[in-house]
Symmetry: C2
Subunit: 267 residues, 2 copies
């Protein structure tokens, strides 16, 4: 089901700034029995991302109601797209613009239901560094599209991305963690990348359990030296990278541990 | 008037990848008496940009007919938006996707009818360098939106942008040229920026007239030392920058000369 600005319609105006400029943000979240999972975290990120783009964020309860109205009955996925609304010509932000709020619901994709290990590759594309937009889940995602177009082998689940200085940033659709000698590592996202809700929850869960997490700029060599490598996002949870190009790892127990931690509570 | 995929409708599907990811390209062009101006050049750029994104470009005559059907009777502006069409979830390019072609026509804005000198400012925002997308007029334009939001003084017409290494790139909605000691200078766009049709026509016109043009990485200091600074795009033609923050210039004759050159022919 699709809802736009509170109505059961499936189209947006052709002059929407979301289309013209990617002038907006989005979230992708799980729904269980028609209710959003990790809602408080998703709303907090949406609010933070809106603030970076100087967008008004819809009221939390109103938006939650919209998500529930759109959501599938069983397990589902909801994508919320929030744009600066319809504009006339030019980049200048209209003085009186009403945001566009799109809620797209679908059934949970098969790949997101699995807990199995995954295979990944390094992408050729290097992410540009734009600190003003780093961390934000905005609608300018051509880098992800180009990176995802680098492979079509169905057994490769994810591609890992570095920035133009060689620092590892994330997966195309996920954040990356790895464990070594009892500690966790994940890339700093102050230059580029998306700070996902699953990543935030893992950081919180690690703190709660007294696991030290290093958030810094790392090279692919740092990751390759790990005991266990994982990707995460709100749909797939935590998945172990069993193979990355020609490097393979055996399970070291971290993926199970962190998946449990991720689901400490569902609010 | 708005046309979408050959029909007189004003909306696109909410699952369009142009909205979801900015997965598409666009052109903005003048129309005169319902006919596109500089059509061959615009189509050539559209085709080149499509090829970078692995998008199918519509047939030239079909697209031109669409532009003519949408265009205003007198002087007008037409924006063509071409996206990878409707997709389901995920960044992967759908195997069988039909592009979305949006043609948006409006009257020529007042500011584009003037030939007067303009005032500009330096923007704080630094453009990220992404060689894979540099030069392409794609739909990921949040940097332009953020840069344009830096000022609201109505007498400031344009903001000039540098990249994160301090090289000058372009205006928010224009390309930049300057003249010094009988030669022309314009930034290299291999790292970021949009290679506009007006810029391309100026380069061609300069070559035809035996004017040497330096295309390179330049600093703001290089520009400030110019005899005359100009911005250009397909709507405004060439406009002289009379003032840039606190720096002012007197006319040195280049803007008139280049504006003539730009309109050598209208095809």
């Amino acid at each position: 089901m699709i809802r736009v600005n509170g109505l059961a319609i499936d189209s947006i105006h052709a002059r929407d700034r979301g289309l013209a400029y990617g002038d907006g943000v989005f979230r992708t979240l799980r729904t269980e029995a028609g209710q959003p999972v990790w809602w408080a975290d998703h709303y907090a990120r949406l609010e933070a991302d809106c603030s970076v783009l100087m967008l008004d964020c819809p009221d939390q309860n109103t938006l939650r109601d919209e998500v529930c109205r759109a959501a599938e009955a069983g397990q589902g996925v909801v994508k919320i797209i929030l744009t600066r609304g319809v504009g006339m010509r030019g980049y200048a932000v209209p003085e009186a613009s009403a945001n566009t709020c799109v809620v797209l619901a679908s059934a949970m994709p098969q790949h997101a239901k699995s807990l199995g290990d995954i295979r990944a590759r390094w992408c050729e594309l290097k992410l540009a560094r734009q600190p003003r937009l780093a961390g934000v889940k905005h609608l300018n995602r051509l880098e992800n599209v180009l990176a995802r177009a680098e492979w079509d082998e169905p057994d490769i689940f994810e591609g890992l991305l570095c920035d133009d200085q060689g620092a590892i940033v994330s997966g195309v659709m996920s954040n990356v963690f790895w464990a070594k000698q009892g500690e966790l590592f994940t890339p700093d996202l102050s230059q580029c990348g998306v700070a996902g809700v699953a990543r935030m929850r893992l950081l919180r869960a690690a703190a709660r359990r007294g696991i030290r997490v290093h958030i810094d700029r790392f090279t692919p060599a740092d990751l390759l030296a790990a005991d266990e490598v994982m990707i995460c996002n709100s749909l797939i949870g935590v998945r172990r990278v069993a193979r990355l190009d020609d490097t393979t790892w055996l399970p070291a127990g971290w993926t199970l541990l962190l998946n449990d931690a991720l689901y400490d509570n569902l609010d």
